[in-house]
Amino acid sequence: MFSLRLRLLLATSLTLAFFLVLGGLSLDRAFNASAEQSQMERMQAISYALLGGAEPNEYGELSFADDKLPDTRLQQPQSGLEAALFGESAGLLWGSPSLGDDIPTPANQPVGQWRFERVGQRFVLVFGLSYVGDGGAARQYSLMLAEDTALYDSQMKIYRRTLLLWLGGGSAVLLLLQGAVMRWSLRPLRRLVRELGDIEAGQRERIEGVYPQELRSLTEGLNAMIVNERSQQGRYRNALGDLAHSLKTPLAVLHGIAERPLNAQNLTEQHKLLQEQVSRMGHIVQHQLKRAATVGTRTLAEPTAIRPLVEKITGALTKVYHSRQMAFTIDIAPTLKLRADSGDLYELIGNLLDNACKYGQSRIAIAASRDRWQVTITVDDDGPGFPEEALPLLERGIRADTRHEGQGLGLGAVKDIVDAYQGQLKLEKSPLGGGRVIVRFAA
């Protein structure tokens, strides 16, 4: 697919070339015609002057005195200007001294008529005339004037060169101008593309620039689409939340019923079974709803600032783990944004930090940074660290809904979110002594 710019450039260049060739040809034609016309007129003038000096010779035939020729070139051989007089029977009656041997013999020219033509390297002008001599009888003659085309040709050559130069220069200027006009006209489109890129990169929330009328409905449509997509996501989340609420409240009741005989000795087999099944249902509902709520990569996702979100979560966790006096260190630039749904980011960071609080002693550090390619989030704790087999467990992608609480690493939800964004999840040893979780997303 050609780019718009290439299409426009190609179309205008072809049109320009067509008109330039056409213009060049017609200019050339017109100049040629007028040059030939003036050539003829000049030769006619010489003919008249020649005829003005014509006298009958001793045989009563019309003749010219060589010393009275009107153009000195006629007297010099090889001068390029020749004159000849032919009689009725087409015999050469008189030739100027400049006349060459190869002169063509013209057909009889009707009286009073001119014939002008180009024959080889000569322009030939023939005039038919009749002369009434002393005898009273009219005789017919053809006066022929020939001029070499060399001068004419060299003039034409100069003219064509000049024409080509001007036309070529003109088209170059026109092309440049056209390029500039196109750049200027396409600038709003380029800006739109840049804005969309910013939205994709998470640097911008909507299209904000002022655009020409032709693009306005497009930008408004895009903005509406972005807003709609986001609000739809919100509605979807709410619907899921409602579903969660209406499923989990009865589950909580069932839980309570299953637990009713609080001391373990009274637990009947059925109670145990009921407890197991209810708790399994609870885990499945929880896991599937969480997975359904994970939005994952969206092209026009709203960028989410990481730091405020982390501060909110650490604030909440400080309350929840009040008795443990957790100390959080946050190393995240306030401007750092990630192109991810804020709900997803809440889940990701909430789970990571909650996990760190559960396993850590008292110190938790969270850092996030962006380089050219990716955004890296690191969470450290000073707990016992991850067991050796933790990573392969994660990599195998074990189903989180088959896992029971406390059995896993609490990273199942984190892994689901990271996968939804095609990110990377790594577990390492932390400089704080405990576990370090590294999450990487494409920037």
């Binding site: 939340g241 609420h245 609080l262 969480k290 909440a316």
Partner: protein
């Protein structure tokens, strides 16, 4: 200790109240946010357990208004709040905690977990960090609901335990008889302030038969105070 349960699902509400009563708490129940807010503002409660998805006034709004004292005769209240939420997203949890809740529990939950969280919040409100309230030689285990004085285990009746837990949780503060009875008896129970005096006397005898420690001071006309230092 008086606990308010605000939950719109009747079955779950009854279940929670029953579990709380089983632990010796006085449980009050509200079925919607409006009633819940009123009770949280006007009743002498020690803890509120609030479901987030409530009709009329949402759980979040309830907590916000409770903390601000909106439309209340008693002004802002700092009573600990435990939220119950089916929406287990972190955004919801953070929102609830930011609104003024102190802890959250995701549905479905185990009753024991709920009771443990409730105990922890009550303790925390009294300034205790551990589940064992230790003061002088007295060690009250709020999880096992048992009392040790030095090496000696002391048996307490349910009401004696509740009086002791309340006094000890609020160690150093003067607690009036009416406050004690408000926090120990359900609305519909017969209240008799003489009974409180009886419990206090019995507690003194059980904890300190030789009268060497004098942990509970009687302030004539105003009430009682736990006077042993916290460990």
């Amino acid at each position: 200790m008086r606990v308010l349960v605000v939950e719109d699902d009747a079955a779950l509400r009854d279940q929670i109240c029953e579990a709380l009563r089983g632990e010796g708490y006085v449980a009050e129940a509200a079925a919607d946010g409006e009633q819940g807010l009123y009770m949280a503002q006007e009743y002498p409660i020690d803890l509120a357990i609030v479901d987030l998805g409530l009709p009329k006034v949402t759980g979040i709004d309830l907590i916000k208004r409770l903390r601000k004292g909106t439309g209340s005769s008693t002004g802002p209240r700092s009573v600990p709040v435990l939220i119950l939420t089916a929406r287990d997203g972190w955004q919801n949890k953070v929102e609830g905690l930011e609104a003024g809740a102190d802890d959250y529990l995701v549905k479905p939950f185990q009753t024991q977990e709920l009771l443990a969280r409730a105990r922890a919040l009550l303790r925390r409100a009294g300034g205790w960090a551990s589940a064992k309230l230790v003061s002088g030689q007295i060690e009250l285990d709020t999880t096992a609901k048992s009392l040790k004085v030095g090496e000696r285990a002391v048996d307490l009746t349910s009401y004696e335990y509740r009086v002791l837990e309340y006094l000890l949780t609020n160690a150093g503060k003067v607690i009036s008889k009416s406050e004690l009875s408000e926090h120990l008896y359900a609305e519909e129970d017969e209240r008799d302030s003489n009974v409180i005096e009886v419990f206090i006397r019995r507690l003194r005898l059980k904890i300190d038969p030789e009268a060497t420690m004098n942990p509970i001071t009687t302030l004539r006309g105003s009430g009682y105070r736990w006077d042993l230092p916290r460990a």
